[in-house]
Symmetry: C2
Subunit: 192 residues, 2 copies
DNA sequence: GTCTATAAATGGATAGAC
DNA sequence: GTCTATCCATTTATAGAC
């Protein structure tokens, strides 16, 4: 890759990073292209060198979020015990998620009017769910219902934490106990 | 109350009702005052006879949502058995919530940029949580942590249902089992 | 209470010079 | 790649006639 392309991608990265900063401060739909440009020291029309529309910026944020999560989950060192694996998995997902609440709105809710992820971005999101499924299969949980209970439980904890105790640990403190509750109910063979 | 005031309130009701219809179709921030007015056969400026600003419309929607939930929960016929009470409470909340997904965004998430509920609206929301607390105290659950796990669990089920299987029953089907899981863990004295 | 007209601001996006 | 200038649509909200 030549220098020009590299600089181009670097600027793109900076723009996305700035977009996240603005999103943190003012919400996912609370910033304009003018603001995004200004925060990067350029003017709004210059953005169109990097993104063909605002929705394409959202799409890039969407795709990178799932890539980031996928990478983060893959890096987890999973213990041997199924129960401990659940704890590790839950904690890791929780910590990652609450570190950027607006990201959740983009990834899991339909909060931006009119925005639909592109096909390739959607594929990335599916890949992440596949990893979760596999992780569960590895510890003997293949019932799809159990997986649904798991996603509801973990995402519920996350959304309660970010919306009712932002920056705190009120739900974080209950997480281990909740994971044990789940393990007791769905990890039938292996009671500690 | 004279006829004029009655008509005034009736129109207000219609406007709020239309606002919910538009919200269902286009999202909480996806409609404009022009559209709201047009859908009611009037012009945008006439709205200001009923609401001093758009945020006041959101505030009214917010307050009425909590009033509605409070009323709905109060009407529940609660069985004697603590475990059955949990089932009733969860099911009722779930069914109420999924019937209007956007309402959840307004009530439980901070999705509308700049909108903050007024003091009186906020008070209504607190009242609802108090009822929940009391309901739990009645069946012997006074540990605040247990209540937090409960809200995370139920709200998690709801948000998964509306965002990943809208109109379906994928999480609804798992709800009873999840409530039993919770009961097993937190209703210690009363095992069925 | 409802309207027309319009203010005042902001939005995303484009044209074309440099 | 970045700019100025601008388009064009849209927004919330107000003024003032009826």
């Amino acid at each position: 890759m030549d220098q020009r392309s590299q600089r181009h991608l670097a600027t793109k990265d900076e723009l996305i990073s700035t977009a996240w900063k603005l999103t943190d401060e003012k919400g996912l739909t609370g910033w304009s292209l003018r603001e995004l440009a200004q925060a990067n020291g350029i003017k709004a029309p210059s953005l169109y060198v990097y993104f063909p529309s605002k929705d394409h910026i959202y799409d890039e944020m969407f795709a990178r979020s799932y890539e980031d999560l996928l990478e983060y989950l893959k890096q987890a060192v999973l213990p041997d015990s199924p129960r401990e694996r659940l704890h590790t998995f839950a904690t890791r997902f929780f910590d990652w998620a609450v570190s950027n609440p607006a990201r959740l709105q983009l990834m899991f809710w339909r909060v931006v009017p009119g925005f639909e992820p592109s096909e390739s971005s959607y594929a990335t999101s599916v890949q992440t769910l596949e990893l979760m499924k596999q992780t569960f299969a590895d510890i003997g949980i293949t019932d799809p219902g159990a997986l649904d209970v798991w996603t509801a439980l973990t995402s519920g904890f996350i959304s309660q934490q970010v919306s009712n105790d932002p920056g705190g640990d009120r739900w974080r403190k209950q997480l281990d106990q909740a994971v044990d509750m789940f393990a007791d109910a769905y990890l039938k063979p292996a009671r500690a």
